[in-house]
Amino acid sequence: MIEVWWSALTFTLGYNTSLVTIGAMLLGAGAGMIGTFVLLRKRSLISDAISHATLPGLALAFIVAGLVQGDGRWLPGLLMGAALSAALGLWLVQLISARTRLGEDAAIGAVLSTFFSFGVVLITFIQSMNVTGQSGLTDYLVGSTAGMLASEAKLIAVCALGLLAAIFVLRRDFLMVCFDAPFARTQGVSPWRVDLLMLTLLMAVVVIGLKVTGLILIVALTIIPPVTARFWTNRPLRMVALASLIGALSAYIGVTLSSINEGLPTGSLIVLAAFGLFMVSFLLSPQRGVFATLLAHQRFRRRVHLRQGLLAVARDEPIFDGLTLRLLQRRGYIRRDGVATPSGHAAARDSEHEERLWALYRRRYPDDALHQEHSGLEPIAHVLPPDAITALEAQLQPRAGEST
């Protein structure tokens, strides 16, 4: 088993498999790229509507091809049918959310369920028709690369490459509209037209991907890689590049895994590979990962509690908060019965002095202080240069008795 996977990974499992792998990788890269822009535009789930809306088109194209040539499986025709009905679905989503009081969420949900249902009606109709290749149609639900013809794989690869190029060329326009649509208009870029282009390319990626991942799972390829990439960078173009890499990598892992055994669903494996990469990033990313975030939050919380507790000790106020009491006890600042220890009094004096310096700083330099994110929680010596502190100390002395 491992050997089979290895030979798939090294592209030595035969011409067809290699072709499919490359096609899927190009597709993954394209989906990741366009998906990033759609994510930045906060419209991720629109691809869900697009993908489900392809089904009636697929089925109708199948019926037409079946009536003409006796076998409905003709990939270019099917893809064209899919694209047409997806375009209709997309147009309806836009229309419903723009012209009625319904939100985009309801428009997406309504279009995806209605189109998909109508597709199912057509499929059950086909099943009672006398056309060969019917089982091929259900492959489009969850994807299958097992029986893919070389010509089909080539078509997918070529289209994916073309899309990739188109997205690459348009990336700057997309970005501008994602970040600042009004500004884009002043630069002679029509946000409406760019949006349309973006959605058209998204639709093309979805349609091309139908055969590989199936229409329910192609959505994942346009959403998971960009979300994953977001964990590693704040720079939009880097995010686009990273998302396309992650998409290609997921497709690579998924397709090669699925070639181990006939029955393994390609689409699922690609999506699960992408999800694996997502989980790793979600948990471990140093800036936005769960562990990093929780750790930072914990540290921040303790710092706030400790400062608050010490100030209360200094001002001789009661402390109610359990965590504050625990933190103070653990550091030996107060005794079990809540009475402050000598070291506690010393620390309290220190933090009150800090607080007073900060207050003075804020009063003297209010505009600077507004820009200090942690203003007051960091030791002042970490933020201000020593001479500035000395100057503040000097000003503090005569006013020491006063408090706001």
């Binding site: 100030l311 106020e317 009661p318 109610f320 009491l325 507004l370 706001t404």
Partner: protein, 267 residues
């Protein structure tokens, strides 16, 4: 140092006492270590620049957002036990006015805590709601769709909902934002009448020019408490400068702080 759990008389009598309140978003304190006590029967304004944490403070007090540290007491009890005595008027822009409801529907929401699930909203409730609507001059609009109202009318409806709550303390978030002059006057009248009945009002307020006319107490806030107390002693040029930094120039300050006749004429 006093024993933990002991509460001063001032806090026990106050409709709202906040101690050491810190609220943060993403490790950035938006409200930091704020202490203040709202005197009973007062009309207190919370004043500060944008992003000073005024709304966050209110939301943390009301338990809508979580607070990092701090203690909130209503008449000396924890807020969770006394929330019945507090009414809240959120920012008008925080809700979806396209919601399928009529004016009277929204106002009867104020009776939420009085109605059990098996009770229907009957004539008595409707009368109560109509009574509140009449106090804000909106009784003619009772069956109007809320989406059809102007901004000022929407604000009046929100105030009417708070009136039906019959709370000791009413907390309002920018009640005068984007409303017409007539509505502003109507709202101020209603609030002042509440104060005459001994109720307490706490209000996020953005218009410095009207602080002196509308309020008797003020909390100046910019993430931290800058100053708090009676308007005449706290609403000073020094404190405003500390709150707003360089965003107010000297002329503006002088106008605000002097008991200006110009401002009086406006209202």
């Amino acid at each position: 140092m006093r024993e933990a759990g002991q509460i001063s008389d001032e806090i026990a009598a106050s409709p709202l006492a906040v101690h050491g309140l810190t609220v943060s978003y993403d490790h950035r304190p938006v409200v930091h270590s704020v202490d203040f006590v709202v005197p009973p029967g007062s009309m207190t304004a919370i004043v500060g620049p944008n992003g000073a944490g005024k709304s966050s403070l209110l939301k943390a007090v009301l338990g809508i957002t979580r607070r990092l540290t701090g203690d909130v007491r209503v008449f000396g009890q924890p807020f969770s036990e006394m929330s019945r005595h507090v009414a809240y008027v959120p920012q008008r822009s925080s809700v979806d006015w396209d919601f399928p409801a009529t004016v009277i529907d929204v106002v009867t929401m104020g009776l939420f805590r009085d109605l059990r699930w098996w009770q229907i909203t009957g004539r008595r409730q409707r009368e109560q709601a109509m009574d509140s609507l009449a106090r804000v001059g909106m009784e003619a609009f009772a069956d109007r769709q809320i989406g059809e109202l102007s901004g000022g009318q929407q604000q009046r409806v929100f105030l009417a909902r708070a009136l039906t709550q019959q709370a000791e303390l009413t907390i309002l978030d920018e009640p005068f934002a984007g409303v017409d002059a007539a509505t502003e006057k109507a709202i101020v009248d209603v609030l002042k009448r509440l104060r005459e009945q001994g109720r307490t009002l706490l209000c996020v307020h953005h218009d410095l020019a009207t602080v002196r006319d509308y309020f008797d107490h003020v909390l100046l806030l910019n993430v931290r408490r800058i100053a708090a107390g009676p308007v005449e002693s706290v609403f000073t040029a020094d404190h405003l400068q500390a709150t707003y930094g360089g965003r107010l120039n000297q002329i503006q300050l002088a106008r605000l702080v002097a008991p200006a006749t110009v401002v009086m004429e406006d209202t």
